[in-house]
Symmetry: C2
Subunit: 395 residues, 2 copies
């Protein structure tokens, strides 16, 4: 049995934000129909696309969904969406701000058609506030939310984070909003409008940075490279090894004493390094000593000896090492799949529910691959009606 068995979701989503939301719902057992404009989700045809025009990114997030092509600029296309909204429990969308309203498919219209429908909207800045309606991209939200300002070396430029943390934080919050609304509907019988804005969704992760800035009166550097954000723990850094980098941190005096035992470097006896305050005042010298020790060892050697000494540490995995990591392989959030068309890769789910086993995804469908089946099975259209929609360019 699945948590969301019987729940029908229509996702007018593109890029990562809404598609990640509907992907998690699919893994929990929802029936997800992905609706795409005639040109397809822009993330289908990235430079990583295969011969059939499906990129690895698209495949990772859109497996396990049915694919409907629909032109919302066509009145008959909009009518199809209205009919689908009447059969669905949830409609998720992250089109450009205001686009659904301009199509006459805003929350009020949809709610009138189906009072039980939950409508979930993902935008950059939300529906109110001075920037409401402005377009947004991962880079510009990272800039506007101080994610960049807090990332990088103290004397270097602000840096964006490599992973798309903004889009995925948005998608995860959106799924929480949808699930809360589904729960509430059990008691009220009514749907509602759920809104998540990217800038809002990333803001809580800056709690520590904001707290440090406020209580230091702005005296703390905005960014501290790989050092501790409050510069209050030393050593705390990434150190170069023979084959890459390793992180090591010593939050307490006991950790430091165990590390000096491991390193056996007489220069650690310097009284300047005797306590945490001294080490913080001389962080460059401490990092040099630790870096000298790591430089002649491999990541695995370092990890083995520090784990034994109970000192917090981790190798810095490259993307290739991550994909092949035995733990990542076994967890299956990154899934190596195989079907009659060959091998492919997709995402499972970080949500492990003991009573709702993961619904194993089938390969992402080609653009519009299920259009005829959905119009027939879900909306009860005849072949003639469906042919008419095709002839009108609505699907």
């Amino acid at each position: 049995m699945s948590a969301l068995k019987g729940v029908k979701v229509v996702c007018v989503g593109q890029f990562y934000f809404a598609p990640y939301c509907s992907m998690l719902l699919a893994r929990l057992g929802a029936d997800v129909i992905k609706i795409e404009a005639p040109a397809g989700d822009p993330y289908r045809r990235l430079p990583t696309a295969d011969a059939e025009g499906t990129s690895v990114q698209f495949s990772m997030l859109n497996s396990g969904k049915r694919a409907l092509r629909l032109d919302l600029k066509n009145p008959a296309g909009r009518e199809v969406l209205r009919q689908l909204a009447q059969t669905a429990d949830v409609l998720i969308q992250n089109l450009a701000p205001g686009a659904m309203d301009r199509f006459g498919l805003g929350y009020e219209e949809l709610h009138e058609l189906n009072p039980r429908l939950i409508v979930a909207s993902g935008t950059g800045f939300g529906s109110f506030g001075p920037y409401a309606g402005e377009p947004a991209m991962d880079l510009t939200i990272q800039a506007r939310s101080a994610v960049m300002s807090t990332t990088g070396e103290t004397d270097g430029p602000p840096l964006r984070t490599g992973p798309s943390v903004v889009d995925f934080m948005g998608g995860t919050h959106l799924v929480a909003g949808v699930l809360a609304a589904l729960f509430q509907r059990e008691h009220t019988g009514r749907g509602q409008h759920v809104e998540v804005a990217l800038q809002d969704a990333i803001l809580p992760s800056l709690t520590s940075n904001i707290a440090g800035m406020i209580t230091s009166g702005g005296a703390m550097p905005e960014r501290t490279g790989n050092r501790h954000g409050g510069l209050a723990v030393v050593p705390y850094n990434a150190y170069r090894t023979i084959d890459g980098w390793a992180t090591i941190l010593c939050p307490t005096q006991a950790h430091w004493e165990r590390l000096t035992d491991v390193m056996q470097d007489p220069t650690t006896d310097d009284p300047r390094f005797a306590d945490m305050a001294g080490r913080c005042a001389h962080d460059g010298d401490v990092d040099s000593i630790v870096g000298r020790w790591t430089a002649t060892r491999t990541k695995d050697e370092i990890s083995a000896v520090l784990a034994k000494a109970n000192i917090p540490n981790a190798p810095v995995l490259t993307l290739g090492e991550l994909v092949d990591d035995p733990h990542v392989r076994e967890r299956g959030v990154l899934r190596h799949m195989s079907d009659d068309k060959g091998e492919w890769m997709t995402l499972g789910s970080p949500l492990f529910l003991s009573d709702s086993p993961l619904v194993e995804p089938s390969r992402a469908r080609l653009l519009g691959a299920d259009t005829r089946q959905i119009l027939h099975d879900d909306l009860g259209m005849s072949d003639d009606q469906i042919d008419e929609l095709y002839a009108a360019g609505a699907v």
Copy 2:
């Protein structure tokens, strides 16, 4: 009316992971009891703590919850938790892996006491796989999940992200898992075990990086500073201004042509910059030209002129600018509060539900401030029984 009205949550949480999860549930209307060991959540007494021993971080995430002090190392303390579990709908915990089991308070034991209870566990690596049970911190998970490897300049070291993206991605997924289980319980009448691991939760945000690595056969650099991850869009960078940094990107030829119109720099006429392929091959030269233009302007000037020309851009806000930003102020995810003890700051919620208005949080309670009230009201204990628990050091 609130989405989670009548839902009772017990949170044995510390740091950010579980507390963020229970905070979002509180904002949706759940009654949350935060349980702390006699020494308190380690995040209470950070260097940012006030005279009463409450840090800004703690205050931001633990407002709107009741506070119970409980020693789970004491048999009478464990008995109190068992009684609470019998009255609760959800129990959330992110103690060290295996700690709840060692206390005899693992999922099986709790499920036997209350088959409707949903137990949500947050850990670094989950309950299976080679690293199951290993401790984890934001820095070590960032290292082990390639967040660091993908962040930073191509020829510089891997860098951690400034915000605590790992902990908050974990907390957001955990709340989604809890809500899915609450919905499922409406149909099954049974609770279940929900598990989220930090390494799993951050992995989907690396979709783009993993796809690029695989399809390029490892030829793409792991990290590209502020440049486009696929090095396929130029300009795409953060540029120095008079008063900080500004991000500018030109995803299409039309954007570039509008930018050259704005900049009025004759060196852009160079045929090397005529199309995207040429600009990508000479990205350093293009960035120099754009940087020359931004260097003599302020962030606000740049933002105004580029918005008018419809060119994607954003100023890089500092933390101070973020806190004072008019949009951030109006959204209220970061909330500036005031009560009879003065001004304080907390988090609202990125979840905007039209039928479940935000439950306005009251100030975070002092350690154990509601212990007596909870034992009396929720568990029906007499004053004598409560005094005994205090005398035994259980509460």
